[in-house]
């Protein structure tokens, strides 16, 4: 062994290696896996990791996007360009179609969110293609319920998560055995924090949709958060629409993702802002998590990611 260098991986290399290992376990253990792609930075990072895990071969899974119809157009364009650039299969399923076919009732209100409805489309899509594993970009630092979910998370036929019946997950051995009809949600970047993802994006020079960077936009101030003006929200008398320089910390639906005021135009600026910021990612930008302390726990039990 040479004395000049140490055999110690830095933390991003360790996280990367762990994620690649998990992706390959999915490839090795499942017949019909899928990578759930939202167009957000976490799933873009997953695609980057999958390139490292499987090139020069093809991905052993398609990218699947559950499109609520309320997505940022920038994110959709980015999605299509990315899939074309890497030459991998992209499957898109629309929440709008599920609403029509199943005659679902859309929630009303000012920011009528399809967040809960997308679970229906997701479960239908899993059934349509017979997916036995769905890879997602959820991180344990995002939220309390996620902090307790396993990396291989077995879901019942209804996609439901039962926190009390989780399989023990030892060393880096993942048990993906399931009964017919069940599926496994797999979270390769469980152990990454928001800052880890940004630092990795910077190091790897990963492209992101433009809305992650500061841009001018018409926004509405609502309970201290900036919501983009779009056809999907209801404007009321007295609402003051302003043009502000903003960026997004997370990319979800236009109805339930808030922007932050920012002049950060590059990754370095964003990392500085996040390092200095005193509010968590979901707390600052997700309207849907404020409903109750246990919002995520409840949604997961009902099949949500």
């Amino acid at each position: 062994m040479s004395s000049q260098h140490t055999y110690q991986l830095n933390y991003l290399d360790q996280l990367e290696s762990e994620a690649i290992h998990i992706l390959r376990e999915v490839a090795g253990q499942f017949e019909r896996p899928a990578l759930l792609f939202s167009g957000g930075k976490d799933s873009i990072t997953l695609v980057h990791l999958a390139l490292k895990a499987f090139r020069p071969g093809k991905f052993p899974f398609p990218l699947v996007h559950i499109d609520t119809g309320h997505n940022f157009p920038e994110a959709l364009t980015f999605r299509d360009e990315l899939a074309a650039r890497i030459g991998e299969r992209l499957i898109v399923r629309e929440v709008q179609d599920t609403i029509r076919q199943r005659q679902l009732t859309e929630p009303g209100g000012k920011f009528a969110s399809r967040n809960a409805l997308q679970t229906y489309t997701l479960l239908d899509t899993i059934e349509e293609f017979g997916f036995d594993a769905c890879i997602g970009g959820a991180r344990r630092d995002e939220e309390k319920a996620r902090a307790k979910e396993r990396i291989f998370s077995v879901r019942d036929e209804f996609g439901g998560w039962d926190p009390k019946r989780q399989r023990p997950e030892l060393w880096n051995t993942y048990n993906g055995r399931i009964h017919k009809g069940e599926n496994v949600r797999v979270f390769p970047i469980s152990n990454w924090t928001e800052l880890d993802v940004w630092n990795y994006i910077r190091r790897e020079k990963i492209d992101l949709p433009s809305i992650y960077f500061a841009h001018e936009r018409e926004v509405l101030s609502y309970e201290g958060q900036w919501i983009a003006v779009s056809p999907f929200i209801r404007l009321d008398d007295g609402d003051r629409v302003e043009r502000r320089q903003v960026r997004y910390r997370t990319v979800g639906d236009m109805t339930c993702t808030a922007a932050v005021e920012s002049s950060a135009s590059g990754i370095d600026d964003i990392i500085l802002e996040i390092t200095a910021t005193r509010t968590s990612e979901r707390g600052e930008t997700r309207i849907d998590d404020k409903v109750s302390e246990a919002a995520m726990e409840d949604r997961k039990k009902n099949g949500y990611f």
């Binding site: 360790q14 290696s17 344990r140 309390k144 319920a145 009390k164 399989r167 051995t173 048990n175």
Partner: protein
């Protein structure tokens, strides 16, 4: 900046959640909205102080019952290190969760209540730490504020625990007096404990050396997946993908596949999407070999000295994790790295008392949270290392073929 994974173990009222909350809070890893949520919840409490323990009580079901039912993971970082905390509950019925959390840990913090001293649960947590070969142990003697920061109380506990550590042959044990509630010796040295001259907990965590814990001599690489592009340009390309469990691997090295026993030479190594001359644990890599030999998922690539054993008759210490009992004659799938083999339990040899390490006569069956020594027979040869010798090559899980559940943690001997 590197990564340290640690587990905290303590009895129900040892202040474990408070300690974790304190570490996150004092190292400024708690953000405003999380703190607001905390304050909202703490308002129901009588004393009005922020209850840091609430930071780790995740699920509503737990909050309602005031207990922790599962392993939760928490993250924080300092400029020196990123930390992953596995928070495992201390109740007797949750040995399974502690074993789970401990399996990946570089370090364990064992909390001792200064008023109680070394109790049965302290011994149990230490025994599990020893069985799982956690390389570093910090014994944090907590609630020092409740014993007037007494050096005598502290010293007596240190003496008691040193005896435990000696019996269990724990390596690298460090002691320190703390009060998680008051923040003494957590992030900075406490003025209330002037007689303690060592570093605060956070400094200990930042400085513990983990580099040497990885075995870089004996190479083990379970093959997860074979990459075969089958395109015209890469018609003959075969990449063997896996995460290096141990050892250092260089281009030109001779490797052996087990259990088949074929050998070849490494012609290229790719790590993180780039070709490299050398790779080491725990990197995920793709190897290409000189010869076109039959290798598939489940095979183990080996290099270096002291190869693993290959056997069908195995001895193992098993921590049982299922409510259905383990019985001689039962069949399970055994998964070690990427290899899954069918196996049958031949015999339970003895039960290990997790409070005393005493070997008790073999029970007819082993129940949830029991640790037993068993003899297993596998349907096909299994390459493995003794867990005590090379944990990276000897930790397996048992899976119930009918329920698909992970039912046991298996330390091969």
């Amino acid at each position: 900046m590197d990564l340290l994974r640690f587990i905290t173990a303590g009895s129900v009222d040892d202040g474990k959640s408070t300690l974790i909350g304190r570490l996150l809070y004092d190292s400024k890893n708690i953000l405003v909205d999380q703190l607001e949520a905390l304050e909202r919840q703490s308002r129901n409490k009588e004393d009005g102080e922020i209850d840091l323990a609430l930071l780790t009580d995740g699920l509503r079901a737990e909050r309602e019952q005031g207990i922790t039912i599962d392993v939760a993971y928490k993250y924080f970082s300092t400029p020196k290190r990123k930390f992953i905390i596995a928070d495992a509950p201390g109740h007797i019925q949750y040995t399974r969760n502690m074993v789970t959390g401990a399996s990946n840990a570089n370090l364990i913090i064992i909390l001792v209540d200064a008023r109680q001293g070394v109790v049965e649960q302290t011994r149990r947590h230490s025994i599990i730490a020893g069985l799982l070969n956690i390389p570093h142990v910090i014994v944090a003697i907590n609630k020092m504020d409740l014993v007037d920061y007494s050096q005598d109380v502290y010293n007596n506990i240190v003496i008691d625990y040193a005896e435990v550590a000696r019996t269990l042959q724990l390596k690298d044990v460090v002691f320190l007096p703390i009060s998680a509630l008051k923040g003494d010796n957590i992030v900075s040295r406490s003025v209330a404990i002037p007689w303690y001259e060592g570093p605060a907990l956070l400094e200990l965590l930042e400085k513990v050396e983990v580099e040497k814990d990885v075995d870089l001599i004996r190479g083990r690489l379970p093959v997860q997946y074979v990459i075969r592009p089958q395109t015209e340009a890469l018609h003959d390309y075969r990449g063997y993908a896996g995460k290096i469990a141990s050892g250092t691997w260089r281009k030109g090295d001779i490797v052996t596949t087990l259990p088949a026993g074929l050998t070849s030479r490494i012609t290229s190594i790719e790590a993180g999407g780039k070709e490299v001359a050398e790779a080491f644990a725990p990197q995920s890599v793709i190897l290409q070999l000189e010869d076109d030999i039959d290798i598939s998922r489940g095979d183990l690539l080996v290099n270096g000295e002291r190869p693993p054993q290959v056997a069908q008759d195995l001895e193992a210490l098993v921590c049982w994790m299922d409510s259905k009992p383990l019985q001689p004659g039962n069949k399970y799938l055994l998964q070690l790295g990427s290899r899954v083999v069918r196996s049958a339990v031949r015999e339970i040899e003895y039960r290990l008392d997790v409070n005393t390490l005493e070997k008790q006569p073999a029970p007819a069956q082993a129940g949830l949270n029991d640790i037993v020594r068993i003899r297993l027979k596998t349907a096909s040869p299994l390459p493995f290392d003794a867990y005590t010798d090379l944990p990276a090559g000897g930790g397996a899980i048992l899976i119930d073929e009918t329920s698909n559940v992970t039912v046991g943690a298996c330390l091969l001997q």
